[in-house]
């Protein structure tokens, strides 16, 4: 906890100036917080109100109804979209953690030719805008017949330079002596990695899991391009399409938005630390 000025002599917690400053501060930060949280609240209340089209600014809807949700489930394949989003984010996460921990360990602890140059090259790929590779990847995948398939959705994302970077940093921080001791006991290089170092990298792996999952869950561009039929959509693309189809039915659109917003919010509230770490390290937001 940082100390404040008021712990020191000469700074008084009283007087008109102090109270004016304090009250202004609280009012301003509360207005800011309402601005950030308001859209979440209105998403929910619109989804739950009976007649959202009438432009009522009800803070709490007069009558709460789940009509929009049941209309949503009747009219569009929401279940399928959730399934797709989980398959996409889940598969990408599993592959990433597997491949990136192997590579992260190799770049940190194994000594092979050209290691540092290769690592620099990988880091440099983080600077490539996504749209540049999407067009050629689209062409390659259409040659393979992977358009509108789970393979096409998942495979381009199964490794990430960010994951390698994150795990390498972590492995570099672990003592080298552990591995040397295990080597003397006759462990091979893979077992040293798998039984000694990987269990010690749990915090970094957790960060990568949560971050990759959310980042993929939120990915909009790629599913928009690769999913050509409704049954292959993931949630952000589905919401975008639902908005186009049900232009005037904001209750239904916001019901869909509510369902999409809930998982990231819950995940964030329960694992805040890991999110923030992932985001500050990568410089990406979800």
């Amino acid at each position: 906890m940082p100390k404040s000025n008021y712990d020191y002599p000469g700074y008084e917690r009283s007087g008109a100036w102090y109270w004016l400053k304090t009250i202004t501060l609280y009012v301003a930060i509360t207005i800011g917080a309402l601005w950030t949280i308001g859209p979440f609240w209105w998403t929910l209340t619109t989804a739950l109100s009976a007649d959202p089209g009438a432009g009522i600014v009800a803070i709490v809807p007069e009558t709460v109804t789940f009509a929009s949700f049941s209309a949503l489930f009747d009219q569009v394949p929401v279940g399928r979209w959730f399934f797709n989003a989980f398959v996409f984010a889940g598969a990408v996460t599993i592959f990433n953690v597997t491949f990136d921990s192997l590579a992260g360990y190799a770049f940190a602890r194994l000594d092979f030719v050209g290691r540092d140059r290769l690592f620099l090259l990988l880091i440099a790929t983080m600077m490539i805008p996504g749209m540049v590779t999407m067009i050629p990847v689209y062409i390659i995948l259409s040659e393979l017949g992977w358009i509108n398939t789970y393979r096409g959705l998942i495979v381009p994302f199964i490794a990430s330079p960010f994951g390698i970077f994150l795990l390498r940093q972590h492995f570099l921080g672990l003592p080298e002596a552990l591995g040397e001791a295990a080597r003397l006991d006759g462990c091979n290089k893979f077992r040293v990695f798998y039984h000694i170092y990987l269990p010690l990298a749990k915090p970094a792996v957790a960060t990568l899991v949560i971050f990759t999952f959310m980042f993929t869950w939120n990915n909009f561009e790629w599913p928009l391009i690769i999913a050509t039929s409704q049954d292959m959509f993931t949630l952000p693309v589905a919401l975008y399409t639902v908005r186009g189809q049900y232009v005037d039915n904001w209750g239904l659109v916001m019901a869909a938005a509510t369902l999409i917003v809930i998982p990231p919010v819950i995940a964030f509230l329960s694992a805040q630390k890991y999110f923030i770490r992932g985001m500050t390290l990568s410089g990406f937001k979800g």
Binding site: A33, I135, Y240, T280
Partner: protein, 326 residues
């Protein structure tokens, strides 16, 4: 004999340098490459290969319908860049159809100039307030960070409802006569997109600034307090100079990310009305996946790539010098 020579001799153990592939110099050659093999395959197929392929594509005419490339040299780049933006007295500013690429560049610059300072000023202000010992600061931090969790496309759809003709913002503004078709008017749509991006980005900047603030040694403030400095003086002479690395990092990152904005603009108004929210990546998407001109779109993507890469490289170099870690 120079000191460098002895160091070198010690390092190689007094022997001649081993060949690059010898097990003596690199004991883990086989294991190392096996460990990174899956990544190498994926990156070659979906990153390195495609970047080179994109460069080639930008010199071809490739339509989704024909499905094959015809070499046309620099024609794509010529069609893209001409007429230059200042031709016919900057006609592109009034008529997007004059040259859509430059119009998209101007929209993107407007977006960058709008979001970056607002987002950074907002993020810094919130971080400064929430770094203090105020009540409920954990709650406030969580609140400001919440929008960062959303996909840009999702927040754009939510805001489209809030800003719609009979949405919440208009019902608040109608009594004072300021209600407006925010998304339907080319004059305001891009500003709405800027506002959504700021809403979604402040929490992110806040977190990085908070990390920066926590890295400032407490002793500096203690010394300042003993001198009886005011809060403003402490900010001006302790906080601000010590945040230099942080705000450099945040600014460059914000610029790089803003240049690549897509989800918010696409989901808010599909690049419209009248091209007013057509930013560079929306333009690339339209040309590639709606018009099917993959070669032409690759030329645009490559210009963006060169620009973003140069910027990122600059940031990487400076960041390396400053040794900022989070």
């Amino acid at each position: 004999m120079s000191r460098g020579f002895h160091e070198y001799k010690d390092r190689i153990g007094g022997a001649l340098p081993a060949t690059p592939f010898s097990a003596e110099k690199h004991p883990d050659n086989l294991a190392g490459f096996l460990f990174i093999l899956p990544n190498l395959v994926v990156f070659s197929a979906f990153l390195f290969g495609p970047v080179i392929y994109a460069f080639y594509l930008s010199f071809t005419e490739w339509s989704i319908i024909a499905g094959e490339a015809t070499w046309i040299g620099l024609e794509n780049y010529r069609d893209l860049l001409y007429p230059l933006p200042w031709a016919n007295d900057w006609a592109v500013l009034d008529r997007p159809t004059e040259n859509l690429w430059w119009y998209a560049v101007i929209n993107t610059l407007t977006f960058v100039i709008g979001t970056v300072p607002l987002g950074i000023f907002g993020g810094l202000t919130v971080a400064l307030v929430l770094d203090k010992r105020i009540r409920f600061r954990k709650f406030y931090r969580t609140t400001f960070f919440m929008p960062v969790m959303l996909s840009g496309a999702v927040s754009a759809v939510i805001w489209r409802w809030i800003l719609s003709v009979d949405g919440i913002v208009n019902s608040l503004l109608a009594p004072v006569g300021l209600d407006h078709a925010w998304a339907g008017d080319p004059a305001t749509a891009l500003f709405a997109v800027i506002m959504i991006a700021v809403w979604g980005g402040i929490g992110f900047n806040m977190i990085i600034f908070l990390a920066g603030l926590q890295n400032i040694p407490e002793e500096l403030y203690e010394a300042a307090r003993i001198d009886g400095t005011s809060q403003w003086q402490q900010f001006r002479h302790v906080t601000w100079p010590n945040l230099q690395n942080t705000y450099f990092f945040v600014i460059v990152l914000a610029i790089i990310n803003s240049f690549q904005v897509f989800g918010i603009a696409q989901a808010f108004a599909e690049g419209g009305p009248y091209y007013s929210t057509t930013v560079i990546v929306v333009r690339i998407y339209q040309e590639a996946f709606q018009n099917g001109n993959l070669g032409y779109a690759s030329a645009m993507a490559f210009i963006l790539f060169v620009f973003v890469f140069a910027f990122s490289y600059y940031q990487y170099r400076i960041r390396g010098q400053g040794e900022v870690t989070y």
